[in-house]
């Protein structure tokens, strides 16, 4: 194999299969914070990129987007959903796993302000993005939504450590404002903020955020959550309908511009 010449053809760092070790596992209410030591990964994850993580006893890996990548350690926020994620969050510290990484594309850095609209574990890639943006000197607004106050530990863990003020919305009003986080986004954009919109969460939330971005003529990006097998473009399971034809979330995404997605 001939080595690529980075000057001529700057391209994504190539993924490989990395041995990782769970070095911390902490409950954040309905979510679990996992820290993986990943010493062999030379590339740095970009915010929005993901890894495909093995889970003992399961034939498929699970795609997860880090909330931080620092000093050879990758932080994940996992919400137990089906059998695989349930087994994953129960693994003891010290467990060795395998991770394909880094996979997919990442969020582009905005010219100026950024508005982050998330819910649940969508906070993971958004917090990674927020940290990246703060370092780059960008202004960051965060709107986080939940059913009730169950996401308090999550928000503290991933956003508040950055010194960010999070506007919190809950369906029952038990934390922050009663309502949905897109209401905060609507007000921000209505106020004329020249923010780029980023949303990760349930499909309905991302669609609502996308509509607001389009309505206000702002750039917007979402990370689409599609069932994946290979994670690297080989199985064609992660089809996404876009205005430019059918794409595949694991290699063409998971991040897509909101105008490109056929909602």
């Amino acid at each position: 194999m001939t080595p690529a010449s980075p000057e001529l053809a700057p391209r994504r760092p190539r993924w490989d299969d990395h041995a990782v070790t769970i070095v911390a596992s902490e409950s954040l209410g309905p979510h679990q914070r996992l820290v993986l030591a990943m010493p062999t990964l030379e590339a740095r994850f970009g915010p929005g990129q993901f890894l495909n993580l093995s889970v003992p006893g399961h034939v498929l890996r699970r795609p997860l987007a880090p909330s931080r990548h620092e000093g050879g350690e990758v932080e994940l926020i996992v919400t137990p959903f089906g059998p695989g994620t349930r087994d994953l969050v129960a693994l003891p510290v010290g467990t060795r796993l395998q991770a394909l990484a880094p996979l997919g594309n990442s969020f582009p850095i905005p010219a100026d302000e950024a508005a982050l609209v998330g819910a649940g574990a969508g906070a993971a890639p958004l917090a990674f993005l927020a940290e990246t943006l703060l370092r780059a000197g960008r202004r960051v607004h965060v709107f986080h939504g939940a059913v009730s106050n169950e996401d308090r530990p999550l928000v503290q863990a991933v956003y508040e450590r950055l010194g960010l003020e999070v506007r919190y919305f809950s369906e029952d009003g038990s934390l922050g404002r009663r309502g949905y986080p897109t209401e905060g986004l609507a007000e921000l954009l209505a106020g004329g903020a020249e923010a780029t919109v980023y949303s990760v969460g349930p499909f309905a939330l991302m669609r609502a955020a996308a509509r607001l971005a389009i309505e206000h003529g702002r750039p917007g990006y979402v990370s689409l959550d599609v069932h994946m097998a290979c994670g690297v473009g080989a199985c064609l399971s992660c089809a996404v309908q876009t205005t430019a034809g059918q794409k595949h979330a694991c290699v063409d995404g998971p991040v897509f511009e909101v105008r490109e997605v056929v909602w």
Binding site: M1, H227, A229
Partner: protein, 301 residues
């Protein structure tokens, strides 16, 4: 001495471990991990005459030690692959098995003709629906399947494998295909299955049903390879749940001369290579060769 070398219909394979169709695309995604020439062969994603967009998502879901897929035969059509992928794949030094399908017999022949310059073997996917036969899979309609084989044989000088389905009768179809001139068989394709989403009270997959693969199906696959081997003298490419050298050896004993690794590649992209290495170590340790094991479970005690 290469203990794994195997002749299959006149093609020399340095080892018997090939990738399974649809799980390795055309190899490009994995080519930076290891030279594709180290594999027995790459079997391509299924190729049809025209592009196909595929099924609605979700297209995959996991099941106990298996997975269901309903990709819906998405592919870019034969012209794109002949232009972009097959010449590249051949240039990697890999042996190539091209998996072909279509709506009717002429489609299969059309694709086979176009891909022949790049193919060491042609694998005919008989599990796809026969559009002019009430959308019954070709594999369940021996006459339609035989017509496919005859047309493909006429269209190519490459050896032709019929890929059989475990969802219908096997031996009657194999018999008819032998008469139609098929050179060998590959099996199993996936078992039809379903998983329900309890939240939505609906099937998980966009297509409702999907094809089951992975370790869960291995006992069924070993059984069918064993039964087919008793019935035919044509060589067999066996697959279904192979994830280790031991699994590959089970298929050899049952009668598979080549073996394919599919789902296991999703769990470990190095799986086909590791399995070939595992076999090498196994036979080295015993002073035996792969081909001594092919069909060995059939020899009298």
């Amino acid at each position: 001495m290469n203990r794994l070398e195997v002749d299959f219909l006149g093609v020399r394979f340095p080892n018997p471990v090939v990738t399974a169709s649809g799980t390795f695309n055309f190899g490009r995604e994995y080519a930076h991990l290891y030279p594709l020439s180290r594999l027995g062969a790459v079997t391509t994603k299924g190729v049809s005459p025209r592009p196909i967009a595929g099924a609605p998502t979700p297209r995959i879901t996991e099941t106990p030690m298996g997975m269901l897929n309903a990709i819906g035969l998405e592919n870019k059509g034969v012209d794109a692959y002949v232009a972009d992928e097959l010449p590249w794949l051949k240039a990697q030094g890999a042996r190539v098995i091209v998996n072909v399908f279509g709506d009717e017999a002429a489609d299969f022949a059309h694709v086979a003709r176009k891909v022949s310059p790049y193919a060491d073997l042609i694998e005919v996917n008989l599990s796809c629906p026969n559009v002019h036969g009430g959308r019954l899979p070709f594999a369940h309609d021996p006459e339609a399947a035989a017509e496919v084989v005859r047309r493909v044989k006429d269209a190519t000088d490459r050896p032709v494998l019929a890929k059989l389905s475990p969802n219908g009768p096997l031996l009657p179809v194999a018999e008819v295909l032998e008469a139609a001139g098929v050179d060998g068989f590959s099996l199993i394709n996936t078992l039809l299955g379903m998983r329900m989403d309890l939240e939505r009270r609906r099937p998980v997959l966009g297509n409702r049903q999907g094809g089951l693969s992975g370790p869960a199906v291995k006992p069924v696959a070993v059984r069918l390879v064993y039964e087919l081997y008793r019935h035919t003298d044509r060589p067999i490419l066996g697959m279904g749940g192979i994830a280790s050298a031991e699994d590959a050896l089970e298929f050899a004993l049952a009668g598979a001369r080549l073996v394919a690794v599919g789902t296991a590649t999703f769990a470990d992209p190095y799986a086909p290579l590791k399995i070939a290495r595992g076999l090498e170590a196994f036979f080295q340790g015993r002073g035996e060769r792969w081909r001594d094991w092919v069909g060995a479970a059939h020899t009298p005690d």
